[in-house]
């Protein structure tokens, strides 16, 4: 099973300091529904984990142009980004739509549903706004009032109850951070779930 993410790893320029989740020139990008979830890391077996995430809807992300990635260290000093939380900042839809029309920019966001083990409510975030995993993690930590601890390649996330994960296109659950920051946008119909455990 070809993991396109692994293929890209070798091609990516690890020194790039700016991650652009650039939307391709073509108009095929649709608004996608994806899922993150933050489950408790109880050292459960993967089969247990997969049953828990079964109920989530699935979608896959895939960009047609490769994105640059950034090393985690560069972004550690960046302030936590504004998550595109539903209904925040508190501006009426009419105003939001009006601003965006004026800019003439593509309206499409890469919306991802994030859920947390033990918390019933799903949140929605737009991946378009994050330049690195650490930014994303800071925002998720803020949103769910939890901590993920230190990430290391060998041990994963140390010193915390919660672990952020996502499901890649092959249905494998991946720890956020295990592969360099890279997402590809694909047609919504071929999308698959992102989940975390």
């Amino acid at each position: 099973m070809e993991n396109s993410l692994v293929n890209h790893e070798t091609e990516l320029n690890l020194k790039a300091t700016e991650l652009r989740l650039g939307l391709p020139g073509c108009d095929e990008v649709n608004k996608l529904q994806c899922n993150f979830s933050i489950l408790r890391s109880n050292k459960r077996s993967s089969s247990e984990i997969s049953t828990e995430v079964d109920s989530m809807s699935k979608s896959k992300l895939n960009t047609s142009n490769g994105s640059e990635i950034t090393s985690h260290d560069d972004q550690d000093n960046a302030p936590p980004s504004k998550a595109q939380i539903v209904g925040w900042p508190p501006i009426r839809s009419y105003r939001k739509n009006n601003l965006q029309q004026k800019k003439g920019e593509s309206e499409v966001g890469m919306y991802v549903k994030v859920s947390m083990a033990g918390a019933p409510y799903l949140r929605k975030i737009d991946l378009k706004f994050y330049k690195s995993y650490s930014e994303l993690l800071k925002v998720l930590e803020n949103m769910f009032k939890c901590t993920f601890g230190e990430y290391s390649e060998r041990e994963g996330y140390n010193g915390s109850e919660f672990v952020p994960t996502y499901e890649d296109k092959d249905g494998d659950w991946m720890l956020i951070g295990d592969v360099p920051w890279e997402l590809r946008i694909m047609k919504g119909s071929e999308a698959k779930g992102l989940g975390c455990f």
Binding site: V86, R92, Y94, R95, K96, F129
Partner: protein
């Protein structure tokens, strides 16, 4: 007139009159009371005694209903038989920010059906956050022959077809005010539906509709409506067309310009200047959607008497704003986009000493680092120059406790203080401390404070301050704030005039919820979403307080014990009979 009112009285009323020890005839009482306009005063009047209660209800012409589910149209029409004007608010305010699912309710139709029977002489309808269909608008147009004024703000469910029905059939229409709605904007044909014989229009606002209208029809309409005082056109109207409209309506008091962008010839330019020069009565200006700022100077002569400038959709920069404000010494209210930056706000402080209200909207609320927007310096600059400031809505990316303290020291008369630091939970960017002291300063200094919206990193201390000092507070909006139940408890125990409390994403749970049990019936409503309240907690409230409606909106697939979104409000109407399946009434 006196005979008419006597006929309407039932015999019991007449008996009371006969037996009354008061030497004050009812007709006189009603006449006098008809001059009492304030809602609060009328309410007090009705509580004096039975005669006064009756006199008040017979003489009342306007009614304001802050929550459409607090009362039924039947109860309303039974108590007030002579209403000419109804104002209705529907959905909870957070529905403006997508926190309430579609099809939640607040349908105007059942009200219209009852009004058609009980208030056939209805003249005015002002709706906010209501669900309005085209069928309802048609029904309105047919049912009320004397209908005069329609105002729709933040409503949804209708299209421009509905407007066409109103324009076609409301022969006595004086006001059509369509603001910021979720309207299905199909086309501009509705405007052409005003009959050629129609001349009564005084207010026309279609600034928030996007499609082209037939300019010829508009020009003729404006020309024959000699009483037209307010005209707010949409983006499709060019500068040249604007000039032609102004020539036909120099008596305008409120103008919403079109896009204000077009290449003009010299002659067109001077004609436009002259047109504005002739508008001696303008006190309100809005629009400038795209604003090629090249021609802003044509506005200058019309600015002398301006009291309200609404540039909240005009992304001006500081230079253009400054040049304009020089000519606006009488400005009382100013709405701008944060593209004006701190420098623009300094100009506000310099040129507009009479300013009472400032709203600064974000140009790029979701953008990262590119937009500068306004900061604490701009806020301070305005407060230094505009000591009469009492209403502020301020969207910013950074703020400090010290700055807010300075602002409220300069301007202690705030009645409405709405500060939105756009990153949730963001601390004082200089000291890294929570923003508790900022809002502490606000409530300590501004004793007249009625409305407060807080933001930034806030602990329970903020709410302790609010509970201790904000004795006139009526509306409080909270998001991503507080540390524990104690915070919300402080507010519930400490703010005697609290009417509306809306909270999202804050760690307040059942203990906090229960603290308000003695209070919710004196409030209009409580909204809590993504807090720590549970279904059992809500059930308990519902049980203990049968006169409250306790409604929960839960998303599918969520935890059944959590109450994700809770809406609690007092009502004499009992539980909703039109609740959709996702609204659980406990």
């Amino acid at each position: 007139m006196m005979c008419k009112s006597k006929k309407k009285k039932d015999s019991k009323h007449e008996t009371n009159f006969m037996n009354s020890s008061s030497a004050f005839p009812d007709e006189v009482l009603e006449r006098v009371l008809s001059m009492v306009k304030s809602r609060k005063d009328r309410s007090s009047v009705s509580l004096v005694c039975k005669e006064w209660y009756n006199a008040e209800r017979w003489s009342r012409k306007n009614v304001f209903i802050g929550n459409c589910y607090s009362v039924t149209p039947e109860i309303l029409t039974r108590r007030f038989p002579n209403i000419r004007s109804v104002t209705l608010k529907g959905k909870p305010r957070f529905s403006d920010f997508n926190l309430v699912p579609a099809n939640w309710g607040a349908d105007i139709h059942p009200w219209l059906v009852v009004f058609a029977e009980k208030y056939p002489f209805l003249e005015e309808l002002k709706l906010k956050r209501m669900f309005v269909t085209d069928e309802s608008l048609e029904f309105l147009a047919f049912s009320f022959p004397n209908f005069k004024a329609l105002s729709l703000l933040s409503c949804d469910g209708f299209s421009t077809d509905g407007l066409a029905a109103v324009a076609t059939y409301c022969k006595n229409l004086t006001e059509l005010d369509i603001q910021e709605n979720g309207i299905d904007d199909k086309n501009g044909n509705w405007l052409s539906c005003f009959p050629e014989s129609f001349t009564s229009l005084e207010v026309l606002n279609f600034a928030n509709l996007n499609n082209d209208v037939n300019f010829d029809a508009l020009e003729k309409l404006v020309g024959r409506c000699k009483s037209l005082k307010t005209l707010k056109v949409n983006k499709s109207i060019t500068l040249e067309q604007l000039q032609r409209l102004l020539v036909r309506a120099p008596q305008l008091c409120e103008l919403g310009t079109g896009s204000f962008s077009q290449e003009l010839t010299c002659q067109q330019h001077s004609e436009l200047k002259r047109a504005f020069n002739n508008c001696k009565s303008l006190h309100t200006l809005s629009g400038l959607w795209v604003a090629s700022t090249q021609y802003l100077e044509v506005l200058y002569p019309a600015c002398t008497n301006l009291t309200f400038l609404n540039f909240s959709y005009a992304p001006l920069d500081s230079e253009d704003l400054s040049k304009l404000l020089v000519h606006c010494p009488n400005l009382r209210r100013l709405w701008v986009v944060d593209t004006v930056e701190d420098k623009g706000l300094e100009a506000v402080g310099t040129y507009c000493p009479l300013l009472e209200e400032l709203r600064v909207f974000p140009a790029d609320p979701f953008d990262e680092g590119v937009a500068h927007g306004v900061t604490e310096s701009g806020f301070i600059a305005v407060s230094e120059g505009c000591r009469k400031l009492h209403y502020v809505l301020y969207f910013c990316r950074q703020m400090t406790n010290a700055a807010v303290a300075t602002v409220v020291q300069n301007c202690p008369d705030f009645t409405h203080f709405r500060l939105c630091i756009m990153t949730p939970g963001q601390p004082d960017y200089l000291t890294d401390e929570p923003m508790d002291e900022a809002f502490g300063a606000v409530v300590k200094n501004c004793t007249k404070l009625q409305r407060l919206a807080v933001s930034g990193s806030l602990t329970d201390l903020t709410f302790e301050y609010i509970g201790r000092h904000a004795k006139n507070l009526e509306t409080l909006s909270v998001a991503f704030a507080g540390s524990s139940d104690w915070g919300m408890q402080c507010v519930l125990y400490g703010c005697p005039k609290l009417r509306k409390l809306e909270i999202r994403d804050s760690p307040f749970g059942n203990a906090a919820l229960f603290s308000g049990l003695g209070k919710y019936e004196s409030m209009r409503s409580l909204w809590m979403s993504d807090c720590k309240v549970t279904m059992n907690g809500c059930r308990f409230v519902a049980q203990e307080r049968p006169r409250l409606n306790v409604e929960v909106i839960n998303e599918e697939g969520g935890d059944d014990s959590r109450a994700e979104r809770v809406y609690i409000y007092r009502s004499v109407a009992g539980p909703r009979r039109d609740a959709p399946p996702f609204v659980l009434t406990l």
